[in-house]
């Protein structure tokens, strides 16, 4: 039995979603191990559990970003007398996220937070920090606004130094489910030889942040690059200290390697579906042509695009009914907007938002499954649909292309359309509606694809093997 510390950022157990469900499932299937949860959250109010924690979770620790620190004037004055030119120079180097060696930067921060300079805020207001920062400014940023430069770096380093001073639960394996701040903590654990480090990435963290940053009007143009470099640095740091790096599919594995991961550490473990469970579902025919989609009603699922597609296709699918299956309470404002769009388009008679439901009841009679997301990793909803013999039309996001049309040895299990394009989604729906033979063929292919490539028993076996291997012996205190 090993003790695994799962490190999450803004997800399990406080947010319902793909990653959270995955973590929940992983803990449940590894009953022989003990788990600690280390959750990085934006505020204390965020910490409202949405999942009932499994019995083998022994500890939950929350770390709030941007914490408050008391500052001692005496300490600041004392810090002013502490001069260390070498450390100053090393810290200056650590501020250059693009070029710094991850190990070097972590060592400098570890040294700074060792106690000599006080708490993170006292470090930030120290002469050493100031001199390093001014040096970095003069060498790389001297044509920018110093005020913004100062606050940007203060924000970044105050968080990093604070994270370094947090107490990390003892464990044999530190399993981070993203890079970012969660990855940073796992790297700190690795650097301190507290245990083995395992990283599973569902998406690619810096890419997601990059989009947010570039689309944020409140971040000054000159400093967008700083933030982007910072998040790529966090990934590189995590990759450096990780003993094993897991991704859900090949494309992401290649991105990890491109962003600095060692190819030898990288492996792919796909999500898995209990094929027997879905095969047991008894098919019942229902009047008309029945189309469904399983999702949380949130903007990233682009539900409005799906509604527009349904409206466009319905004219040529007279007897079709549409079931939008899943919880609607996560973003009620968005749900209301969807309802309004549905009313505006006069679709109430053939579109149903079911709310949180037992999806198996719908898999009994659905003829076709849709996915209209603008971002996904490896969506379980389409794997489950395929396991039930339902063909899928999905947007070209995440691993959908590979799942639906990439398994050449078996055949296609659905159609891929460009994200946000409701006309293409509508066309694809009509195409399958008019060709029932193809629909049947795709449904059969879906079952075969899941049987061969996305088996839950295989997913369980691979993680059990990983935990056993990484957790064996005394993971702690390894040298």
């Amino acid at each position: 039995m090993a003790k695994i510390c799962i490190i999450c950022e803004g997800s399990y157990p406080y947010v319902v979603g793909g990653v959270s469900s995955w973590v929940h499932d992983l803990i449940q299937i590894n009953k022989e191990h003990e788990f600690a949860l280390l959750c990085i959250i934006p505020s204390e109010e965020f910490a409202v559990e949405k999942y009932e924690l499994p019995e083998n979770v022994r500890e939950v620790k929350n770390i709030v970003l941007n914490p408050e620190h008391e500052v001692s004037t005496l300490k600041i004055m004392k810090n002013n007398f502490l001069r260390d030119k070498t450390l100053e120079e090393r810290f200056k180097k650590a501020m250059n996220f693009k070029e710094v060696e991850p190990r070097e930067s972590l060592e400098v921060m570890d040294e700074l937070t060792g106690g000599k300079f006080g708490n993170p805020k006292e470090i930030i207001v120290s002469k050493l920090y100031w001199n390093s920062l001014v040096g970095h400014y003069n060498s790389s940023y001297d044509d920018t606004n110093y005020n913004v430069f100062y606050w940007t770096h203060r924000n970044i380093f105050l968080n990093l130094l604070s994270l370094m001073t947090e107490e990390i639960p003892e464990a044999d394996v530190y399993h981070s489910v993203a890079t970012g701040y969660a990855g940073f903590i796992s790297a700190v654990a690795g650097q301190r030889n507290m245990g083995k480090v395992l990283l599973t990435e569902h998406g690619i963290y810096p890419r997601e942040r990059e989009e947010e940053i570039l689309g944020s009007p409140w971040i000054e143009k000159n400093f967008k690059e700083t933030w982007v470099d910072f998040f790529y640095y966090l990934s590189k740091l995590t990759y450096t200290y990780a003993d094993e790096i897991v991704s859900l599919f090949e494309y992401n594995k290649n991105l990890q390697i491109e962003y600095g991961a060692d190819r030898k550490k990288c492996t792919v473990i796909t999500n898995g579906v209990d094929i027997e469970r879905f095969q047991r579902i008894e098919k019942k025919s229902r009047k008309g042509f029945n189309v469904g989609s399983v999702f949380r009603v949130v903007p990233i699922k682009d539900v409005k695009m799906m509604l527009k597609a349904i409206k466009t296709a319905k004219r040529r699918m007279k007897d079709a009914n549409f079931y939008l299956i899943g919880p609607t309470d996560e973003n009620e404002e968005y749900y209301d907007e969807c309802l309004k769009l549905m009313r505006d388009l006069n679709m109430e008679s053939y579109v149903t938002f079911t709310g949180k439901s037992n999806v198996d009841e719908y898999y009994e009679f659905l003829d076709l499954l849709l996915l209209s997301s603008i971002s996904e990793g490896q969506p379980l909803s389409i794997l489950e649909g395929m396991a039930s013999g339902i063909p899928v039309i999905a947007t070209d996001v995440g691993n959908c292309r590979e799942i639906l049309i990439g398994k050449k040895d078996i055949g296609e299990a659905g159609i891929i359309v460009p994200p946000t394009s409701y006309t293409d989604l509508a066309e694809a729906m009509v195409k399958l509606y008019q060709n029932r033979d193809r629909l049947k063929e795709m449904g059969d292919n879906g079952i075969e694809i899941v049987k061969k490539y996305y088996r839950r028993d295989e997913f369980i076996r691979r993680y059990k093997e990983l935990y056993e291997r990484l957790g064996e012996g005394d993971g702690r205190n390894r040298i």
Binding site: R207, E211, L214, G215, Y251, L255, P299, D302, K304, K308, K311, T312, R315, E337, D344, L345, I374, S375, T395, D396, V397, G398, R401, P418, P419, T420, S421, Y422, T423
Partner: protein
């Protein structure tokens, strides 16, 4: 005897066909489609009489005979008449295309400016670049014309690389969400005039197609009905035209042309007539407002300049 009758019949047919060709030649309002209908009626008559009276089967010879004069006159028609008609239309086309030209010019100017920043090479990269180059280009691509941006993002949606697709989709979704949010806020506030403008912009943004686009056009039109009459008359005309309500559009144009001269309305009318092949109406409009029509391109340029200054 029969031979004489046959030749007479051939001459009569050829004569009728020639009249038809000449009529088409001199009356510019005669549609080409009508010419073909009458020509084939005459031809049909010739074949029928040939069959009934002379008991002769149709032969290639007969077909060549009936087609021969028409081919000759037809060649003359294409050489002489169409260029004349083209020249009439070209004036209309000149002013119609001007707006498109200005739009293209603005896009080019944007790309020219961005060339200094090294984005011009990246613009080409959308077709041939690496995924990283494409993504970099899309991130820095922010032209003043939103529809231009949407066009480019839509192209990126069908790229081979998932990253490029993802970024384009996110951007398109952001733009769409922006419209939706504006609509939602304005609906709550009940600001009809602003709401009309957003509906109109949304419908024209290239984000919407088919029935969904029509829905927002309809919503915009519904608001216009409750705003003071004539406040956005040109926008109303554009909406009606885009939605295919030709009759209503024509009715409003007729009413407006009775009133004060307005170069925008005249321009719209010309375009409407041109697109619907209403040649007589174009002629009438040119006769009635010769100066206005002649100066139309300059008026459009001036208006664009004013709008440019205001936007700048």
């Amino acid at each position: 005897m029969k031979k004489l009758l046959f030749i007479t019949l051939l001459i009569i047919t050829g004569f009728l066909d020639s009249i038809l060709v000449f009529y088409t030649y001199f009356d510019l309002s005669m549609h080409l489609s009508k010419f073909w209908i009458y020509h084939f009626l005459i031809g049909g008559l010739f074949f029928l009489v040939n069959e009934v009276i002379f008991k002769k089967d149709l032969a290639y010879f007969d077909v060549v005979i009936i087609l021969f004069p028409v081919l000759g006159y037809g060649a003359l028609f294409f050489l002489e008449v169409l260029p004349e008609r083209e020249s009439e239309y070209s004036e209309v086309e000149e002013s119609i295309d001007l707006k498109n030209y200005i739009k293209d010019r603005r896009e080019l100017e944007y790309i020219d400016v961005e060339a200094d920043l090294g984005i011009i090479g990246a613009y080409d990269s959308l077709a041939v670049g690496t995924p990283m180059e494409k993504k970099k280009f899309l991130m820095g691509f922010n032209p003043p014309e939103r529809s231009f941006k949407i066009d480019v993002l839509k192209k990126a949606l069908v790229d081979d690389d998932l990253d490029v697709i993802h970024y384009a989709a996110t951007e398109l979704n952001n733009i769409d969400q922006g419209f939706q949010k504006q609509i939602s806020d304005l609906e709550k506030k009940g600001e009809r005039e602003s709401l009309f403008k957003v509906y109109k912009d949304y419908a024209e943004s290239q984000l919407l197609e088919g029935e969904i686009r029509k829905l927002y056009q309809k919503k915009a039109l519904e608001i216009l009905m409750v705003l003071p009459k004539g406040m956005y008359i040109l926008e109303e005309l554009h909406l009606l035209k885009d939605m295919g309500h030709k009759r209503e559009c024509q009715k409003i144009i007729d009413e407006l042309l009775k009133g004060e001269e307005d170069s925008e309305i005249i321009h719209f009318a010309m375009r409407f007539y041109y697109e619907n092949n209403l040649y007589e109406d174009i002629k009438r409009l040119k006769e009635r407002f010769p100066e206005r029509v002649r100066n139309l391109p300059f008026t459009i340029l001036e208006k664009d300049l004013r709008e440019g200054e205001r936007d700048g």
